[in-house]
Chain length 243, copies 2
């Protein structure tokens, strides 16, 4: 059943009006927190944006205005070493989080938390969508919800009653993801063209937003330029110096 | 039911001998891949280590010898822009992944995949454990399983039939994680001491490995020194230059 739920996932960007209650949100967050955490640091926080004006601004800053304004709940899923700084202060220790390891730990902790939260919501019939767009204006978003040193939004997550139903997009074949004992690049020569055909057929046949495109075309176009080149500087201001 | 499954999670480090079959592993991976992926880059790979000699070496290199040798399956959960490089080559484009954004995207993609994989396994009665220890000797581990440029193990994941049953560790209270509209540091002054009491009681009362410790003590001790200071250099050699 859990596996069936996972395999039915498709992002939902259009929601009915119903807002999630505090009780529902607490239940989802409590479940999500039970994901593993590296050395139990629990290096995450969630900012639940309920204020209509803030939601409007957040939507504009993350270039997802319609989706964020229309969602049943809007969450900023944040990496957080600020709480750990408080823990250190309580014990008279200055904690360190300026190394590459700390960024990887925080982004990982947020990832495990977020996927549990997403799946818990989907198990209750809600739709969800991750929003990387919050990394477009991370400083302005930090100001909007008062994120201190050590805290930055890795992505947003919208949740709500689906007002649309999207087809599940075919993933890379398992054999392109799974290597046994040794990484095998050679197999991409046949697997990627096959996958391109699968994706092209999917885009042409799906019920809305049909287009002609392959996966390797999309990836090549998307990644030929650096993405979000300002991010390193913003993270450094947050204390993530990546030493 | 999904929420109950999440809330029952406790890491399992001692497994019965049964090995997962290829069919089972494929089913888990296929489910896991249905997690969202940033711009659909699917920037991950899994190396399933079945060779006994490699498993032994991996266990030693990641300082988890007993657990890795005894598990029903051992996975290296890898960030992967190598496959995307192949996609670019097919389209005559050189792709870029040397910015902070790319590292965050890959670690996030791996996180969502991994948590789905973990939960899918738990839904079938298996126990799981994440192993950050693979970041102790990332270069030697990369050599062991032939990870090329663009691919590094973010963590390991062991799966198997539990040979032990651990109590669920109390997480931070929801109100310490969840902020509404604005991040609120002030509340940690009361919430962290309360949580320390909860954790101290848990450590004193659990059935095995009892100890006297609080969460803030553990965090302060763990984080007063930089962790894994060599990691930035290893990531740079893999092409993750964090520009």
């Amino acid at each position: 059943m859990v596996i069936e739920l996972m395999k039915s996932h498709a992002s939902v960007r259009d929601y009915k009006e119903k807002q999630l209650t505090r009780e529902e949100v607490s239940e989802l967050v409590a479940a999500a927190q039970h994901a593993a955490s590296s050395h139990f640091v629990q290096a995450y926080s969630i900012v639940w944006v309920t204020d209509p004006e803030k939601r409007k601004q957040l939507g504009e800053l993350s270039r997802n205005a319609q989706q964020m304004e229309g969602a049943g709940a809007v969450f900023l899923m944040c990496a957080d070493y600020n709480r750990l700084k408080h823990a250190g202060d309580m014990q008279g220790e200055a904690i360190s989080f300026d190394h590459a390891e700390n960024l990887i730990v925080a982004v990982t902790d947020v990832g495990l938390l977020a996927q549990n939260l997403a799946l818990a919501a989907e198990s209750k019939g809600y739709g969800i969508c991750y929003i990387g767009g919050v990394r477009n204006n991370m400083e302005a978003i930090s100001d909007l919800v008062g994120l201190p040193e050590g805290v930055f939004p890795v992505y947003g997550l919208t949740v709500g009653v689906p007002n649309e139903s999207n087809e599940v997009k075919p993933r890379l074949p398992v054999e392109a993801i799974l290597h046994e004992n040794a990484y095998d690049e050679a197999k991409y020569k046949t697997l990627l063209p096959e996958y391109d055909e699968t994706i092209q057929r999917y885009y042409q046949e799906r019920s809305t937003n049909q287009k002609v495109a392959t996966w390797t075309q999309q990836m090549a176009t998307f990644l030929r330029k650096p993405r979000r080149p300002d991010l390193k500087g913003v993270l450094a201001k947050k204390g993530y110096l990546f030493k």
